[in-house]
Amino acid sequence: MRRAFLNIVFLFLPSIIWGQQSDNTWSSRGITIRSVEVSGKRPMKEIGTSTTTFDSLTLKENIALSMADVLTYSTPIFVKNHGRATLSTVAFRGTSASHTQVSWNGMKINNPMLGSTDFSMIPSYFIDDASLLHGTSSVGETGGGLGGAVRLATTPASANGFGLQYTQGIGSFKTFDEFLRLTYGNKNWQVSTRAVYSSSPNEYKYRNRDKKENIYDENMNIVSQYYPIERNRSGSYKDLHILQEVYYNTGRGDRLGLNAWYINSNRELAMLTTDYGDDTKFDNRSREQTFRGVLSWDHLRSDWKVSAKAGYIHTQMAYDYKRDIGNGIMAHMTRSRSRVNTIYGQVDGEYYIGNKWLFTANLSLHQHFVTSRDKNIIRQDGGKAIVGYRKGRVELSGAVSAKWRPVERLGISLVMREEMYGKEWTPIIPALFVEGVLSPIGNLTAKASVSRNFRFPSLNDLYFLPGGNPDLRKESGWSYDAGLSFAVGRKGVYALSGSATWFDSYIKDWIIWLPTVKGFFSPRNVKDVHAYGVELQAKLDVALTRELALALNGTFSWTPSINQGTPMSAADRSVGKQLPYIPLYSSAITGRLSWRKWAFLYKWCYYSERYTMSSNDTTLTGKLPTYFMNNISLEKSFSFSWADLSLQGTINNLFNEEYLSVLSRPMPGINFEIFVSITPKWGRHK
């Protein structure tokens, strides 16, 4: 606790020090730094909301990052990482993975079977615009975000003529990352094709302290034991992503867009540290093919806007667990298949009356068709059968809002949303946002919001065989936010901004999968949870000299997430305790120092201890201590008459920490990767 506090204080100290300095000499330098934006007035659409927006540099600072990595180092979100290039889910404001809604170009991409999103499957290279909508702020975008929402989008490339960028990354553990982007653009058209291919046997070494190797004598007596240095066994991956975008801008206020994203992933599921199986005798693998496509039309006028979107998602997932039965033939122990088809449609409208009123409305529809085939069995009569389910569900969500800015310094926004999943409707979901500028000096702004929210059970929660529970109730909650923000700066010299937000959420009927006496798991509404806390964010951009710029971004969150349910039995010691796997404290800082064509990046994150038990007991076998992670990278750009080149070297886990995010899932030690990037200047030679 004490160490965490010290880290937090020192994390923000530099920002505070710089924030207090208003050196006139800076203004005289007349230099341009990366991003110096001091907003005098927030857009009306964002009245009272708590939003974290990622700039393009954050998203592209390391081309090989997944969105899981970006969220880890740039937000207060806890990313529960099962290993390198494996399942990564998030806990937003002390909630679970399925309480974070994720959209891509407006279309919801949470897996309807699971309710959650695997952020390790989203390369940041494919995302041009990303933002977090914290807690109540998500209601304006979508329902079900009891923790919040992550909004991901692509944007037109702004190309003029043909363009090409190719990047090759080579890293530790035989990791190869390749990135290609082709662009074409003119006054009306913007076309972009992006491709990513990442592969690695992923066999990083680590000292396995969860097991020991035995040395026997000839009578099979143990004469010695030691902790083995093991490889990350069965953790290889091959991921291919292709993104095609076409935009047509009429130049008269209409824009048409097509986004199509194809994923082909083949990943082994790494063995636990406590696995004594021979990895050459077992094959534990998941494969996924997903296509996501969105067609969009935006029609903009001076005081109103309408847009329409139509989309489609097709996902095929295969999970195979096989073992060698002794003759070299790998026999299936589990052969699970699932298929999801989703049809999506959405219309949005905005209408301004003067500069004091904004009315918005949106209506979205997602129709899911799911087939899950989990197990092949032999029936009692000797025939074959498949254990699984086949279901469809329509999800309708609509919202209207009125935003009012009666005076320059005050804004009020009211959102009313309603959702229907299947045949079940939510009550009206209200959200009220208020913000006011307390002082124009420093743009000191106060904001507050309150909302109700609901999350429906996922299709697996309801129908999975065995265990699905069609009697589940939807989770519901009330959330309250209040905060202060400020922004100061001098154009072209420095910009300092920060915010502090307090939040408070009550979630009823939290769904948890529990074992049954029949040997399978089944979901139940078991917990009432009170999640509350504080989020702090600070950002500093400063030009130190004409050629030297520093950018710092820091976050800190304190997120008690307390079980307030009824004890499950007299012996239950979980009531009043922090939920497992949700850290009480987390923090991250990113610092970027740019000098001429050099850039140095330092990333640091901290997570306090995570409990693995609902009773918050810390046992020898259930301990996930605090960890700190440090990554650095150095980049140098070259500009030739025929091309731009850049070289980047990164070091991850700089101090070679032994750490875990999840029990029995080892994380890699220090590792390296270098990237070479080339952007030819076709037809633009000088």
């Binding site: 004594y276 005798k281 069995i377 059968a385 006496v517 078991v526 979980s574 960890y627 700190f628």
Partner: protein
């Protein structure tokens, strides 16, 4: 530049602060040889989290020691501790999803060896000093092992099942024949000749027999769970069966109510009283001709997960897994159903094993 230097001076040392705090390699010495009897509790832990543990309870002293495997060996037991069996001075712990069976010294809890590369070990049964069978889930074979050499020596292929729906569970032996219940998506009891390692017969019972015991009259007893709703394998009322192992025929079937979830069929030390879980804890003499009307211990609002009876004095131990993500609790009752003691163990206590000195 000064400001920059000052800033970096503040930041950099703090970024270097902190490493995960691990305590490794501390092996604790135990000696339980003085206690007349002891109870081992296999705590499954959470599937895929590798946090299974072993607890040891001394009934005479009413004292429990948790995580004894880790504390004695400075390494984890593994992922899903399914069962423990004692043979002479060694305890054999089947750790299902770690593909391993550990052999430990019963008094010091120190490992003496391990059998690895199993598919999904459930139970071990000793045929002789140098031969044992290990049943599996997700495998249609029973593994034959040499426990002295800690090695797999052969397999018994089970008919009517594939790797995917393979399931063999508890074993009891009468003479040269061994009987094993097939549980997950199965409905059979297999009969194996231990001299030839061949399956010589099979008997169909109800859907999913969960457990198997041999009473003092040398009758097999099994209880089915009846499957589950919408299962393509079927869903029926569970039942308790009495089986003649020689004729290999069902002698008596006691039907439970449709939707009941019985499990954990156990015998007392003299083999004349049956116990099982079905929300409540139930008890029935082996010569009873109908099911009891009232439970031995009524349901108290929690889902019992494990059950055992002290073979020495008939005391009944019931495991409450609570919410399955905290340390479970064991309740110790007298043969008359009076609460004598309770204690916390590890996550999801599911199986017990008695040590008699």
């Amino acid at each position: 530049m000064k400001r920059l230097t000052r800033g970096l001076f503040l930041i950099v040392p703090l970024l270097l602060v902190g490493c995960m705090e691990w305590d490794y390699g501390l092996e604790e010495d135990f000696d339980t040889s003085a206690s007349p009897e002891g109870l081992f509790v296999c705590n499954e832990g959470n599937f895929q989290y590798g946090n299974a543990t072993l607890s040891y309870y001394d009934p005479a002293a009413c004292r429990v020691e948790n995580e004894v495997f880790y504390r004695a060996n400075a390494m984890k037991l593994g992922d899903v501790a399914q069962s423990m069996t004692i043979r002479d001075s060694l305890g054999w712990v089947c750790v299902n999803n770690s593909h391993v069976v550990f052999a430990i010294n019963l008094n010091s809890f120190r490992e003496v060896g391990r059998i690895t590369n199993l598919t999904s070990p459930r139970y071990i049964h000793f045929i002789s000093d140098d031969k044992a069978y290990i049943t599996q889930l997700w495998d249609n074979r029973i593994f034959i092992v040499n426990p002295q050499r800690f090695e797999i020596t052969g397999y018994i292929e089970c008919p009517g099942m594939t790797m995917e729906n393979g399931s063999t569970e508890q074993m009891v032996q009468l003479g040269k024949y061994l009987y094993v219940n097939c549980w997950s998506y199965q409905n059979r009891i297999l009969k194996i000749d231990t001299t030839t390692d061949a399956i010589v017969d099979e008997l169909t019972v109800g859907i999913q027999p969960t457990s198997l015991v041999l009473d003092c009259n040398n009758k097999l007893r099994t209880i089915t769970d009846g499957g589950y709703e919408d299962s393509p394998y079927g869903h029926e009322a569970p039942a308790l069966y009495r089986i003649d192992p020689v004729e290999f025929k069902i002698e008596k079937q006691f039907n439970l109510a449709f939707g009941d979830t019985p499990s954990e069929l156990q015998l007392n030390g003299t083999g004349d009283m049956l116990y099982w879980l079905n929300d409540d804890v139930w008890a029935m003499p082996i010569d009873a001709e109908r099911l009891p009307l009232r439970p031995f211990l009524p349901y108290n609002g929690t889902l019992y997960y494990g059950l055992t009876v002290n073979p020495h004095n008939g005391e009944v131990y019931v495991a409450d897994a609570i919410d399955y993500v905290q340390q479970g609790k064991i309740y110790r009752y007298s043969p008359q159903g009076e609460l004598l003691d309770d204690f916390y163990v590890g996550i999801i206590p599911g199986a017990f094993c008695w040590k008699q000195n």
